[in-house]
Symmetry: C2
Subunit: 355 residues, 2 copies
DNA sequence: CCGAAAATTGCAAACGTTTGCATAAAATAC
DNA sequence: GTATTTTATGCAAACGTTTGCAATTTTCGG
């Protein structure tokens, strides 16, 4: 009746007149145990409703079979998709995933690192805050040889495994695409430069301009957190007075969508008067009218790779020093209506393979 | 240089010539410890880079300070938002959240229940699979007095805490809305009836029809997993030959969106020829042209409530028997273009028609 | 300054596993 | 039938905490 329901291997052992060690080994399929006793033990375990206590096991051999995952937020399309994939894959291999969100707050990220360490996670994957430039709160993991992997939002000068999108190429490709479609004055709305993925996109943007002999103008680049509100503010600035740009490269799709809606309001035709390209290929980009050209970052592939690296590292004996390495996940421009050439009637979705 | 970095309270105790118990108590701010030693201990803990071992503590007092969360998938808007809220809220109170996805597979859900129990989570919140009708795999939690809460996709005859949307009202409201906008032949695309949230929406649909003296026709209701592919199949059936319906109530927005796009292709005007209403108020519903009328289920509120109930139960002494209770989260119809009255006609609130 | 109450600190057991080593039993070799 | 290998099982320590109770120290009334 009361809370006496928690059966342990000791109970099994007593019931069967065996030692706990034998029971433990039997349940873990240790080769030294005869098949007969294994069967007996497992049957009894079932009968008693025994459930292993992961904490006890974890304490004993300092393995929690849990890996931590820190992302800015799980309700955003891109990290959500990655998290999904990582979680499913690791689950297949018997690992739990502790998905945590920093909410883009450095403070929360630091706290998370601390408490995740406390739970003795076996590995950690993180996509950092927009504002994380000092990564020393992850030192504990490195120092204790706990596999540590960064993805998407990765550090610049912190030696660690890294899996990221090809953001330089992305920035370059988008910009060149706009130029090829006839744009001469391209505004870029970027995230804050503390996040070096944006630095790279800006670099791509600049280089594409240079290659096509279009002067780079500082005033045509905005650095801001890529929210709807900020996008509106940017719009107001951009369209407060002519000359209006003829192309906008937004570093995410929320921003691109907001701009598109703003254009509707001020009767600016897209793509005729203004071409817009977003980033990340959010599901909304495909659905809006006109549909928005965006850059697919293949979150499923990225998640898959992160999971593979984690599993790899988890397999290795604990003492192997962490090696620094960087993996690049390809990107692909998905051409849609918002950047179509005005002359030709565009098909709804044209995919152009890059790289 | 090797893995000698894991400091424990024993190390602190030795360093300070204190007993481990004192150190433990000092770190936990036990009232019996003098402030002087508390300070000493904490300082030393810092100096040594001590991090508590949650597994050891957990083992000792059978509390993991972790709660489990099982949802169909975290990449869908609705569960993602709820998960976000729950996770953030519980984190504030020092709990970890183990977010797991069943991928709408009963088999996976059962496995998850098992392994989550193994980790000795302190509580569990679940939104079940579409196909879960037998919930006995959650019995372990009830039997061991581990707080168990269901939300959104909840069981019908399984006594447990439940927090759900007002799906009956939702179905009724949508249907009545369509009727008021002039629809006489309303198709309903529902999820499978194994999930009783759909049963309730169907009930709302039926009752609204009845109230407005519109005959219910079995052939006008589809029961299917609400994917894009299935939505297309339904479209093909619906529009294979006249008479076409003049209203469609889709039980999620993915379906509504797919229908809308299908209509574009076959040159059916929305809302003039056909009115469409979705469910859940996915961000995409607002963005598409025409924007889609949908039902907001206030996922943030639902998440908040789930978190509150969990925290409540976690506070209580373990022996309190689980009480059955059901909380209803309100819904709100968000009227948009896809069900607007046609502009040609003056604004009319159709009250009574023939008969 | 004594003794009792109050405030601190320490001892040791417990939580449920795993695992190196020792031992016992069975199988094999001679 | 004994000696040796192989195969199964058991003992006991460990993992890092927490906590009831006992022991010690401090405080303080008189």
């Amino acid at each position: 009746m009361s809370k006496r329901t928690e059966k342990t291997i000791v109970d099994i052992a007593e019931e069967l007149k065996l030692s706990v060690s034998t029971v433990s080994r039997a349940l873990n399929n240790h080769p030294n145990i005869s098949t007969r006793t294994k069967e007996k033990v497992k049957k009894m375990a079932n009968k008693l409703g025994y459930r292993p206590n992961a904490m006890a096991a974890g304490l004993r051999n300092s393995k929690s079979r849990t890996v931590g995952l820190v992302v800015p937020r799980i309700s955003m399309f891109f990290p959500a998709t990655i998290s999904t994939v990582i979680q499913n894959k690791l689950h297949e291999h018997g690992y739990h995933v502790l998905i945590c969100q920093s909410n883009d707050s450095l403070e929360q990220e630091i706290a998370l690192a601390e408490t995740l360490y406390s739970t003795r996670i076996d590995a950690l994957a993180v996509s950092s805050t927009l504002y994380t430039t000092d990564f020393s709160h992850f030192d504990i993991f490195k120092d204790n040889n706990i596999p540590l992997v960064f993805f998407d939002r990765v550090p610049k000068d912190y030696k660690v495994k890294v899996i990221k999108g090809d953001d330089y190429l992305g920035g370059y490709t988008v910009t060149e695409h706009l130029i090829e479609k006839g744009c001469k004055d391209i505004v870029h709305i970027s995230g804050p430069l503390t996040c070096n993925l944006y630095t790279e996109r800006v670099a791509g943007y600049k280089n594409a301009l240079r290659k096509h002999k279009i002067p780079f103008r500082k005033s045509r680049v905005f650095y801001q957190e890529l929210t709807k509100e900020n996008a509106l503010l940017a719009c107001e600035k951009i369209f407060s007075r002519p000359p209006y740009p003829d192309g906008i490269f937004a570093a995410n799709d929320t921003t691109a969508i907001t701009i598109l809606e703003y254009c509707r309001k001020i009767n600016l035709r897209v793509p005729e008067d203004l071409k817009i390209v977003g980033y990340s290929n959010d599901p909304r980009a495909e659905i809006i009218t006109p549909s928005i050209t965006s850059v697919d970052q293949f979150p499923a592939i990225m998640g898959e790779r992160v999971a593979n690296v984690l599993l790899d590292l988890l397999q290795q004996p604990g003492t192997t020093p962490q090696r620094y390495s960087e993996e690049l996940v390809p990107i692909q421009l998905i051409e849609r209506g918002s950047s179509a050439a005005p002359v030709s009637k565009p098909k709804t979705t044209v995919k152009k393979k890059v790289k």
